[in-house]
């Protein structure tokens, strides 16, 4: 009776809403709605791993929640890869692509209160170019000859040879100024210009950031405080999100993200996916045999891997590029699809005996659940081909030491920079052209080194650039010292629906300055 009485009113209300909704939609853009309606407060974020240190040049995924909140880059990329100003308001590349001149903002201060100037960029470049201090940025500095700072807001970077424009903007986007006075202590004391300031940190438990009251971007940051809490595993973090103890999880696994999305949570996927790569130590038998290595291109059931290990989140690839990369070539994905017969042919063509082909172990990172799953899939496929190997499962630092020290036959490990300038792939250890910890010096695949050099040296015309990319792709599958399988979402965000204003970073770093409560 009561329902019957209210039903006409409900229908009337719905009709009115339906009538005025399009008017509202045409009057206010979604971005404006968010900017007006998002509120500050304390954001509680769940993480699955503790940070290592505050050095923005140590570009480890466990530090991804810090870097773009405590620091700013010289320039930024939109999710589509378009370069936009940040600490540098403009950048001018000279006619022959041998130098770039930047104009810096003059209204920026560091967390210490010190004023940002070209001297800080010079100090940052010096650190980056130092093989002991440059960490992940050092490889990118290989193209840089020198630099000069004629005044406090201008800096010119000179290159050793003409450099493609995309490679120049990649360098600027990767360059995160550190206060000159804080360079020596940056691992323990953040020294950036970011939207947030470090408030406190409890090792292994989490950290808190406070709003930077002197931040240079208008109306940002929105939040007053961010509290990061470290959880032992994704299931615990997800349970905390579902219970309302936290507002979002950063770095969720694909499987939990899919489950929580189905339960009504927001899942934010950035453009900066990694590429999962089967890394092969081609200096150790039986992987010194080219045909044996090439067979692994066909033994990977990539579709199955994405389905079971990554809950369908990811794209199958046979090259180390995300689909957004200029070097990505769809044809390779089709050509190197799972094909057991072809794999067996190549194994047979290798001339190795069954015992020789089985005389190795696959290193597995026990803390990485998807990695354990896909390793078992490969192990099973190899058994089908008559190659019986064991998994060498290691945890934590024991695995990392083996991986970075090249102490393995083969292992899965994701690589970054998959959507940037192709030669940036060479910043990943297995793809390094020099001082490669796995393949050692001199590099056993000079054709690969030459192909990377060619890509670096070819800034035009377009046909020449494409030819350089095509040659690099051909060499990659011929040498097969690394066999890519699929893209992997890093920095996946699963958030409560009361949050909005997410900014997608090209590397999937957490950018919290635009996030607020609806």
């Amino acid at each position: 009776m009561k329902n019957g009485f209210f039903r006409p009113l409900k229908l009337l209300g719905l009709a009115l809403f339906a009538a005025i909704a399009p008017i509202g939609a045409t009057l206010v853009t979604p971005v404006a709605v968010e900017a007006q309606e998002l509120k500050g407060g304390t954001l509680r974020v769940g993480l699955l791993a503790d940070m290592t240190n505050y050095d923005p040049q140590q570009f480890s995924t466990v530090n991804f929640h810090l870097i773009k909140n405590l620091y700013d880059s010289l320039i930024e990329y939109t999710p589509e890869g378009e370069a936009v100003p940040s600490l540098a308001t403009e950048w001018t590349i000279n006619a022959d692509n041998t130098s770039v001149t930047l104009k810096l903002r003059d209204d920026v201060t560091f967390a210490s209160g010190g004023k940002f100037s070209s001297a800080d960029v010079v100090a940052t470049l010096e650190k980056a170019a130092n093989p002991d201090l440059g960490k992940n940025v050092f490889g990118t500095m290989a193209i840089v000859k020198d630099w000069a700072a004629p005044d406090a807001t201008t800096i010119t970077i000179n290159f050793k040879a003409p450099v493609p424009t995309k490679q120049i903007t990649d360098l600027l986007q990767f360059m995160i100024p550190i206060e000159a006075a804080g360079i020596a202590t940056v691992e323990t004391v953040p020294a950036g210009t970011g939207a947030y300031l470090l408030a406190d940190r409890a090792v292994g438990q989490g950290l808190t950031m406070k709003k930077n009251p002197n931040y240079w971007r208008d109306n940002e940051p929105i939040l007053d405080e961010i509290v990061f809490t470290i959880f032992a595993d994704d299931a615990a973090a997800s349970a905390a999100l579902e219970s309302g103890s936290i507002d979002m999880v950063y770095g969720s696994t694909a499987r939990n993200a899919v489950r929580l999305q189905d339960a009504g949570y927001q899942v934010i996927r950035g453009p900066g996916s990694l590429v999962q790569v089967f890394r092969i130590n081609a200096t150790r038998a039986p992987f010194t045999n080219e045909k044996f290595r090439q067979a692994f291109n066909y033994i990977m059931d990539r579709e199955g891997m994405v389905k079971v290990a990554y809950a369908g989140l990811g794209t199958v690839v046979a090259l180390p590029w995300a689909p957004a990369s200029p070097a990505f070539d769809e044809a390779y994905t089709a050509e190197f699809a799972y094909n057991m017969d072809k794999a067996k042919e190549l194994f047979a063509a290798s001339g190795l005996s069954a015992a020789e082909m089985s005389d190795w172990k696959m290193l597995v990172f026990g803390n990485d659940e998807p990695g354990v799953v896909i390793s078992q899939i490969v192990q099973n496929a190899l058994a089908e081909a008559g190659i019986n190997i064991e998994l060498d499962v290691r945890q934590g630092a024991e695995y990392t030491d083996a991986l970075l020290g090249g102490d393995f036959w083969a292992t899965f490990g994701a690589v970054g920079n998959a959507q940037k300038f192709p030669s940036r792939m060479a910043t990943n250890s297995i793809y390094r052209t020099a001082k490669n910890p796995v393949l050692k010096d001199p590099h056993p695949f000079p054709d690969y080194v030459a192909a990377i050099d060619k890509v670096n040296a070819t800034s035009g015309p377009e046909d020449a650039v494409k030819a350089a990319y095509a040659e690099l792709n051909r060499v990659l599958v011929t040498d097969s010292f690394a066999v890519p399988t699929n893209t992997v979402d890093t920095g996946l965000i699963v958030a409560s629906d009361k949050l909005g204003g997410f900014t997608l970073d090209i590397d999937n770093l957490l950018v919290a300055r635009t996030i607020g409560f609806k």
Binding site: R255, G304, V308, E369, N380, E390, L391, V393, R394, Q395
Partner: protein, 291 residues
């Protein structure tokens, strides 16, 4: 013959209790399945990715895991891993622990003090931590897990044996053997040890459950038997990640693990009660003749 009769009598008394009978039946089933697993139409390694995380069905009674393997097959073959580890660990613990307790209790003095301080050191170390450290040194394998779990069981055998020896050492039949010129070794192994078996045997059963639990805990922590070798602990470890999508994945192996441990405990308690009541002391003649 006497041993058979004695075992038969203990078994009869065990079967009189419904709880013990059920536990014995369950363990018998699990043990037979573990031994005869290769004859069963089950393959714990066969992957079928399209069947990943399918629920229990007529084809897969316990459902399938994240790569489409049959969970029932993995539980059955996992029993082999658990029982083998338990048996090996108990053997190591008993073979090392019993002689330590025997020598310490029989001779006393500095030998007792030295051996028991060594046992105290082992006892002071948390079993799981010690086992993890051992595996870190030996590497991750079933043998390493077996040795690690076995070493953590040494103190309990040593202490129980020593206590038993101390209570028997001054008994008349021991003194008599000594008076007749029986050597220390003869007295320890032919006179005292046969009369100490009851608590040791109970300890064997109890340690089986501890060993299975410890092996599962090591696998759960990711340092036990390496995948894809089926292990109950490893299944629990992986299954907990799929609790929302496939609760049966962790729950069913968990139930089997719980029932196995419970069965060992029930039998251990019943045995302790039965053997305690049989306070009969074997004389040297009963135990194996005069020196």
């Amino acid at each position: 013959m006497k041993l058979l009769r004695s075992t038969g009598s203990v078994l009869q008394r065990l079967l009189r209790s419904p709880g013990s009978a059920l536990a014995l039946l369950f363990l018998l089933g699990i043990t037979l399945a573990a031994i005869l697993a290769d004859l069963l139409p089950l393959n714990p390694y066969a992957q079928k990715l399209v069947n990943a995380l399918n629920g229990p069905s007529a084809a897969n009674w316990f459902g399938t895991d994240e790569v489409g393997r049959d969970i029932l097959a993995r539980v059955v073959f996992g029993a082999r891993t658990s029982l083998l580890t338990a048996a090996g660990a108990v053997a190591i613990a008993a073979v090392i622990g019993v002689p330590i307790g025997l020598v310490a209790g029989f001779f006393g003095g500095w030998r007792d003090a030295t051996l028991m301080r060594f046992v105290d050191v082992l006892l002071a170390l948390p079993a799981i931590l010690f086992a993890m450290a051992m595996i870190a040194v030996l590497g991750r394998s079933q043998v390493a897990a077996l040795i690690a779990v076995g070493i953590t069981g040494i103190p309990s055998f040593a202490r129980i044996t020593r206590a038993q020896v101390l209570s028997l050492r001054r008994r008349d039949f021991v003194t008599a053997v000594e008076a007749f010129g029986g050597s220390s070794a003869y007295n320890m192994f032919r006179t005292i040890l046969p009369n100490s078996w009851s608590p040791i045997f109970v300890q064997i059963v109890v340690l089986c459950s501890v060993a299975i639990l410890l092996e599962a805990a090591l696998s759960f922590l990711g340092v036990g038997v390496a995948p894809p070798t089926p292990s109950w602990g490893e299944m629990l470890r992986t299954g907990k990640s799929y609790l929302h999508e496939a609760p049966y994945y962790a729950v069913l192996p968990g139930i089997v693990l719980t029932l196995t441990i419970l069965s060992f405990d029930v039998i251990g308690r019943s045995l302790a009660g039965i053997l305690e009541n049989r306070s009969e002391v074997a004389t040297p003649a009963k135990a194996g003749g005069a020196p």
